[in-house]
């Protein structure tokens, strides 16, 4: 199932004084089954890029290929419903999309729209609610009276209940408390590693990229300038320095220790492995 951009440009408000080039000649392929992070400055085209994946935006030139769909400029919006079931998109601050009387009804809204019978849809909704860490007693509550973090979970459950093959997340943890963000990221990782869902996530958080993702795409001025594995991206702080972003704490620590003469390999990614490597060398010298 290819997820591919071929010479895609997107220009907003063409022919008016508000004309704005958001994407320019993008050639990009997302690997199926991978957890890919899309990073870049505000206004670099990240959100515009991911909204092409389920045809909310069509390219103003070029082609987006997702599975059997070939999305081109000026195409008719018919037949896109199936694509939108396949590619679930969670917007930034998705809690604003809640509208139903009860949490259960709201989560099953998506599946029902895609033709799943009511009973089955509610079953899926119930499952999705459990996945995002809210128990059954929330099912009959009004989504509008929940706390911000709970609303976010319900909104994400609304997309998960659609069983998408590709999950696109636009800053899913922005504004969540650290514990909530951690739980969400673990959920996404499990979806990716256990269910094999392809995940494409827009984020500003390097710790998340480092801790959970497989690949990194860097957007700059409407173009992907770097597309590489997370391992390669964080092998030292050179990529981060060139982009003027703060590397994850572990990488910073590693760089500092290397300067002091420690021999640390690039494949050290988790804290326990890191600790063991340091311990070994300290003992050795001790």
């Amino acid at each position: 199932m290819p997820i591919k951009f071929e010479k895609v440009s997107h220009i907003y408000s063409e022919g008016t004084p508000f004309r704005y080039v958001a994407l320019e000649d993008v050639d990009l392929e997302f690997r199926e089954g991978a957890f890919t992070a899309v990073i870049g400055r505000t206004g670099s085209g990240k959100s515009t890029l991911v909204q092409h994946l389920n045809a909310l935006l069509l390219p103003t030139s070029g082609t987006v290929i997702v599975d059997d769909w070939q999305l081109k400029a000026g195409q008719d919006a018919k037949g896109l419903k199936k694509l939108r079931k396949k590619v679930g998109l969670v917007f930034q601050f998705p809690e604003y999309q809640l509208f139903e009387e009860t949490v259960l009804k709201d989560i099953s809204f998506g599946p029902k729209n895609f033709g799943v019978p009511v009973k089955e849809a509610e079953e899926k909704a119930s499952n999705a609610l459990r996945m995002v860490g809210l128990d059954k007693e929330y099912e009959q509550r009004s989504p509008l009276e929940l706390s911000g973090g709970q609303k976010r979970r319900v909104a994400i459950a609304g997309i998960l209940a659609m069983d998408p093959d590709i999950l696109v997340l636009d800053e899913p943890t922005a504004g969540l408390d650290p514990q909530g963000a951690l739980e969400m990221m673990r959920l996404f990782r499990d979806l990716n590693k256990i269910h094999g869902t392809t995940i494409i996530m827009v984020t500003h958080d390097m710790e998340q990229v480092f801790g959970y993702c497989d690949e990194v795409v860097v957007m700059e001025n409407g173009k992907p300038t770097i597309h590489t594995s997370v391992q390669d991206f964080f092998k030292d702080s050179s990529y981060c320095d060139s982009l003027n972003i703060l590397p994850p704490a572990l990488i910073r620590m590693k760089d500092m220790l290397k300067e002091k003469g420690f021999a640390l390999t690039d494949d050290i990614r988790t804290l326990p492995v890191f600790a063991r490597a340091i311990a070994k060398q300290v003992k050795h010298h001790g």
Binding site: L56, K81, F91, L98, N113, F114
Partner: protein, 266 residues
């Protein structure tokens, strides 16, 4: 939704953009009154020339003006149909079965359409060249004299500026919610009636929730900064009428006088 042009400010640099909002609003009102005098085709020709000159000076593209007229097309067709059915004076121009089209019906409709188009041209020209904030400053000043008889001019101006301030935000918000719900399989373009009602509901409820949220936030932010309606306030921007502003007003007055002359004395 992104194509709404009516009432949007277009940031350009032109003599019209730099004018005093009071002069522009005043000139607009006077010209709108002038349009309502039955000055015949010559009169409308003169007004059209005058308004076109202002539009050319303002560097607005004719395409933009045309776009803001487009939503009125349906109303114009509606007017034509009503007039054809109701007005039965003048000569019969066309007979289709039981329906006769009289000359007066067509002429009457044409008059109304021309008036409407001129009005849209004038108001678009004002809103496209005047920043919403300047506009409310102008309105506040123009309402100033009525303060003595109890018109809360400052509050009205604040109300208008807040409303204008939130139009683009609400349009953005609507677009966002449309996209979010489309991602959940909502189809706004086709489907059964019950599905479409549900689709609209899925937009309206979140939109209201966020609008109230914004209103709440704004009220808190204003109160936190000590806003007191009715108290005297100083201004950052002081409006000043200059030569071109007086010229615009004078021009509008001449136009009005000319229309009165054409309508009643020529």
């Amino acid at each position: 939704m992104g194509n709404i042009t009516l009432g949007r400010y277009i940031p350009l640099d032109s003599p019209i953009h730099r004018m005093d909002p009071r002069a522009k609003i005043g000139a607009m009102i006077i010209t709108l009154i002038a349009i309502f005098f039955p000055a015949g085709w010559i009169g409308y020709g003169i007004i059209f020339t005058a308004v076109s000159t202002v539009i050319i000076l303002s560097k607005l593209s004719p395409v933009y003006i045309w776009k803001s007229m487009k939503p009125m097309l349906l109303m114009m067709v509606f007017l034509l149909v009503i007039n054809i059915l109701v007005i039965h004076t003048g000569q019969v121009w066309l007979k289709i079965g039981p329906l006769s089209i009289y000359s007066d019906a067509v002429m009457q409709t044409l008059y109304i359409i021309v008036r409407l188009l001129l009005m849209i041209m004038i108001t678009t020209c004002l809103t496209a060249t005047t920043k919403p904030l300047d506009m409310t400053l102008g309105i506040e000043d123009l309402l100033g004299p009525f303060k003595k008889i109890g018109v809360p001019s400052h509050e009205i101006a604040m109300l208008i500026s807040i409303a204008l301030r939130f139009i683009p935000d609400l349009i953005d918000e609507t677009n966002r919610i449309i996209k979010a719900q489309e991602s959940r399989g909502v189809d706004l373009k086709e489907g059964k009636l019950s599905e479409r009602i549900m689709a609209i509901l899925s937009l309206i409820v979140p939109l209201f929730v966020s609008a109230f949220q914004r209103a709440d936030d704004l009220a808190n932010a204003m109160e936190a900064r000590g806003y007191q309606p009715g108290e005297p306030r100083t201004r950052y921007k002081i409006l000043k009428m200059k030569g071109p502003d007086w010229a615009l007003l004078l021009g509008a007055c001449l136009l009005l006088a000319g229309m009165i002359y054409l309508a009643y004395f020529a």
